[in-house]
């Protein structure tokens, strides 16, 4: 529809990196930067950085560069980091707990509201102010509370079923840690973190390097 709908995923994946480096510059009191400087930090070409940013607007000043804080705020706005998000985590096993404890998210306005699990030993306990509730009560909970993002940390065997239940209750953003591709309707966005696939790629490149050394 509008311009932004056609932005390629590759661009979107680079934005968080710009955001992070701009935050670092900001923290050390640097308030001016350039595409060349950002290129050195990120490893992306200066040309690509300018192209990326100009998908969303002209944030720089010709002959000068970019104002660090301003550019950071603009990227935050593009990504939506200027808003608050409520999160639930389904599956309070190792990964679910790790996500709930992950302090990196609290830099932005993400709040883990609750976790859900079937394990009676976990139900009733809490992690950083977020209660672990009975997985049977998810639907009831979602009827009452508005939740933006659901994190799936269940075993893969139930992940599809859990996802469908969540979508039925109005969830449209899923962060999926189960090693399974969820089949979801168009209006639901799924972001996968497939640790297995990541480790397998690493393994491939590790072996490539070993081969090279033996030549």
């Amino acid at each position: 529809m509008d311009k932004q709908n056609r932005i390629s995923p590759a661009v979107i994946r680079r934005l968080p990196k710009y955001y992070r480096y701009l935050g670092e510059l900001n923290k050390v009191g640097i308030n001016k930067t350039s595409s060349r400087e950002l290129s050195e930090m990120t490893g992306f070409s200066a040309s690509q950085i300018r192209q990326d940013l100009n998908n969303f607007g002209g944030f720089g000043q010709q002959g000068f560069g970019y104002d660090v804080e301003n550019l950071r705020n603009e990227i935050a706005k593009i990504l939506g980091l200027d808003k608050k998000y409520k999160i639930i985590i389904v599956g309070a096993g190792n990964i679910g707990q790790a996500i709930a404890n992950y302090t990196g998210f609290y830099e932005a306005d993400y709040e883990v509201v609750a976790l859900f699990d079937k394990n009676p030993k976990l139900i009733g306990t809490s992690i950083r102010n977020a209660l672990i509730l009975d997985a049977d009560d998810i639907e009831e909970f979602l009827a009452k509370e508005h939740i933006d993002i659901a994190v799936i940390c269940t075993p893969k065997s139930v992940s599809q079923q859990v996802a469908e239940q969540l979508v039925k209750c109005g969830i449209r953003a899923i962060w999926n840690f189960a090693p399974k591709d969820l089949k979801m309707p168009e209006h639901v966005y799924v972001e996968n973190v497939h640790l297995n696939e990541s480790l397998f790629s690493l393994t491939y490149y590790y072996n490539q390097m070993r081969k090279k050394e033996n030549e």
Copy 2:
């Protein structure tokens, strides 16, 4: 050098997915498949799947398709999943512990040999047969034991320093969970799992969908 060195990363990222779906087919006793069938499962085009596989060899039979088990074994060989790997985890906080507990890896031959941490309360305890050792003893440990892959789960403030120490001790494959880009020499491969960036992309697409609905 040889053909494999020029395989694009996009291809390598798809291989673990093929491997996973072939495993599922195998499990339910299906022993023949085709690029069309794999296309339906993975969402990649049949043409792309054939292209991908033919980077490594002709694993199919014209007019027939692919033998599920054979193709799975071939992909395992390409990725190096037919070998054993010893892993250490540096940083035994939430994420480090979650990785150590993650059973998904044990399907292949990955073994978490030890974890390292500075926290005296953790040192001496163990997770699934892997001891948590004093982070000060990493170098000594690596001098004795051959380790293939190091997982960095430390705070980002020390991740670069830890990585350099590991590389000095001969580590050449790093799985990095710290939200930082490690500056490493050419002969070290780093696979990043940047949860922040993943969540930020998710946030972008979530907001895009909301906008679309309000039009």
